[in-house]
Symmetry: C4
Subunit: 276 residues, 4 copies
């Protein structure tokens, strides 16, 4: 019976590990998650500071060590996750599985290609796990409303983006014909870039029209941008209002008159007075 | 009976051609549309790259050939469209008919006026046919909600644009009086251009007030722009909510008078009083 | 009886004049309004072009004449308006009365103070009469919804503007302490100007933080601006939705069950089926 | 009985003082508040003007005196507030108590640390008391709707800000890898600063991409910013609509169970089923 016991103890060991690493309900699991988040935050800040030459020249060695320690810890954690999960391959292919891998790859890669260690900021995506540590249900609920609204407005946004793309390419080409190269409109792609900068009301000013005709067209684009910015906002708001509204209305129908649309706290039907 | 048969076969030939070119339901029609879209995308990209001097000097010849091949293909397609459609003149006058013509004209025109080939990007408008290839009904439905909302807010937007126009001209003139020419406010039209750049929150910074009074007025305009940007968004959102809400109207028809458009909570038909 | 007849014919002459000048229902009144609008547009464009030195040096004389002809015409029209209206003093004090006076004053003033003729662009406000010529009722209806929404959100906007003012002054002062004078933060008022430019997302770039701490604070202000811009939009949208919604719901109550909230096209009560 | 009388008169003295300083209902209380607001406004303007070198060199002495007079007045007022309030320690810990202390501290601090007197602008926060002087109830009502909407959208905004933070760090790091140091992307923190400037559509233009790849990524970020700016607006609007909608709930209480919060179209109490 040894293999069985072994398998049992093995199975128990895995289930404990699973609880610590994947759950945030138990004190140990929560502590693990908080330590993990601190490591992630620390390593991302280390990578960011490493890029500042003044800091790098002075604390470069320490930052380098932090980076490697974090990477090794995350590698161990990644292997443990694969070990204790039921279907390792499924996990490796999931969103967080891929993020976990991407979060350790750049350090090893930087030994071959210098500079690639800056990609380590992708580790930040791991912090999205943070919502598990906080009062999970609330935040997921709110996030799900946002995602639901985004999903519902998917097609409208596609239509909208397509129209925007058409506008910026045509406006960019017109500007290329109108403005001289000295103003910065050296090619159509660059003019399209200017059109996007203008339409989105970012307005760097690195490229800006100099001729009267160009400025008139630019003014037209800005007024259009004014109107156009209203569209995604309108879509998003309308969808959010719907998504939030759906949460508020009970799906319960009156047993007497079958009327629907009751509020969640309704005890009696508001149309016929029957008990619900 | 030969002419008749001829006419019949001719009619059949036209109907097949019509199905291939104008419909996207059959596999052949869909394939035609996809090939067409690729051609359009390719030719627009070719025109855009052609304007980049570094690429033009190296691949100019290839791009030139792509341009001509696409133009000839589109010319043939345009003629076929005119041939197989019932009323060619009606089609030529329609939105897509005009776009199809504009999409081939610049290349021929560029033989007379150099530089006009950049207008070929107008071809991009042809890509709007893309929605036919995608799951048509869904996207047209969403687009129609957007268009319905835009149409409903037409008059409000007119009133709004008129007020904005009045504001920018008056503010521009005031700035012309306040600021010196060195700051870039060289004429009222240019000051109006600045006012539009500021009110729409684009803010290039190519023209910006230098005096204290000018900066105070600019700050006022910005705060106003802050409030003004809320208006089109508000209009658009309110109309979109309504346009989307109308979709929520019950699809139930009255069993008595067949009237539609009842609210979801209606118990009796609001037109004839029959129980629903 | 001569004075009476005289008074009668005088009264008739005034009423005809009133109809021509103040109404837009009769063909003559409409024609008068259209001619007036053209004059206004022409004179505003003349003033704007007059400020462009290249145009002024060539066509200055013509523009000067247009300006004086328009001013004299408007002066005659202003006097006629005062003559044919019942209470001239009431009219002179009304919004359009003041605008009419301001629209002619700058030309006469420019004889004393050179440069003041550019204030003539205030004439543009007269163009607001345009809505009378167009299908009046529709536009006034839409404008009244906008104004109603603005009035309803008056207090919320006041609270909001006050909070924004407090934020920009405090942020501006902090930036003045953090940033050196070389970055353009030469005084608190100028720093406050920068804070407004940043918070409203205009972003000229004429003043921008150079130190790390300043950039961090600026980033914070931007993110805040991101959230803050949502507030007036939200207020405006919510009020507009209400203002528009109120137009859509009939105020009629069911004679049987007294239920309210019926749609405008309802013939029978949707709750009890009684004829309304 | 002298101590008692003394205590009584003392208590009366305190209650009169409390009414003058803390209430705005009586004429004296209102007058006190208005004088206070003028002092605050004057002292904040004095601090701001003091930072303008041209004004400081000429009126520096006067501004210095205004500052000290205001500070001493505010110090006396602060002490009086502590004296006449029931629990001085509670008041000192409250929002306005802390603001009152911060509003006088910088002047005394400026004797030790020069420059710290500019922190006096924090006095402006005291002006928030202004709403008490205006028709209080109305404004507090409106402010409470805004605050209620902000509180309700708290979690959605948190999720949103977290996503935005993740985006700007990753985009900033990518830009640091793509763009050279000459374009201004000298470190990851600075690139993140650029990403925030761009995503919020501020667009100073002090740092802007020069390479084609960088501009393409920037264009992508802008389009994203376009969509992202819709999210807080949507959240805010949806919450505001709800917060304002709740005001629309019938004020009718059930005659049976006295429950409130019924919808306007309710015929029967939804809690006890009694006819309303």
């Amino acid at each position: 019976m040894e293999p069985n016991t072994n398998s049992l103890s093995h199975s128990k060991w895995r289930s404990v590990l699973h609880e610590v690493i994947f759950e945030a309900d138990t004190p140990v699991g929560k502590a693990f998650d908080i330590v993990l988040l601190c490591c992630i935050a620390m390593s991302v800040i280390a990578v960011m500071l490493d890029s500042v030459s003044a800091i790098d020249s002075q604390y470069g060695r320490i930052l380098y060590h932090i980076e490697w320690v974090c990477t090794i810890l995350f590698t161990i954690e990644y292997i443990l996750r694969l070990l204790c999960v039921g279907r390792p391959f499924m996990y490796a292919k999931s969103f967080f599985g891929v993020v976990d891998l991407l979060a350790i790859a750049p350090t090893y890669l930087s030994m071959l290609i210098p500079g690639s260690q800056y990609l380590l900021v992708i580790r930040l995506l791991r912090v999205l796990r943070v919502f598990r540590v906080l009062k999970l249900a609330y935040y997921l609920d709110e996030a799900s409303i946002l995602i639901q609204a985004l999903r519902a407005s998917r097609r409208k946004i596609t239509v909208f983006l397509f129209v925007v793309l058409t506008i910026v390419i045509i406006v960019g080409s017109l500007m290329y014909l109108i403005e001289s190269e000295e103003s910065g409109f050296t090619s159509i792609p660059r003019s399209v870039y200017w059109a996007i900068v203008t339409l989105t009301t970012v307005g760097y000013g690195d490229i800006s029209p100099k001729t009267s005709l160009g400025q008139a067209l630019a003014a037209l684009v800005m007024i259009m941008g004014f109107a156009i910015i209203a569209v995604p906002t309108g879509i998003m708001t309308a969808e959010l209002t719907q998504a939030m509204g759906q949460k508020k209305v009970s799906t319960q129908a009156c047993p007497e008159c079958s009327a629907e649309g009751h509020e969640n706290d309704a005890v009696y039907c508001k149309f016929c007075g029957a008990k619900m």
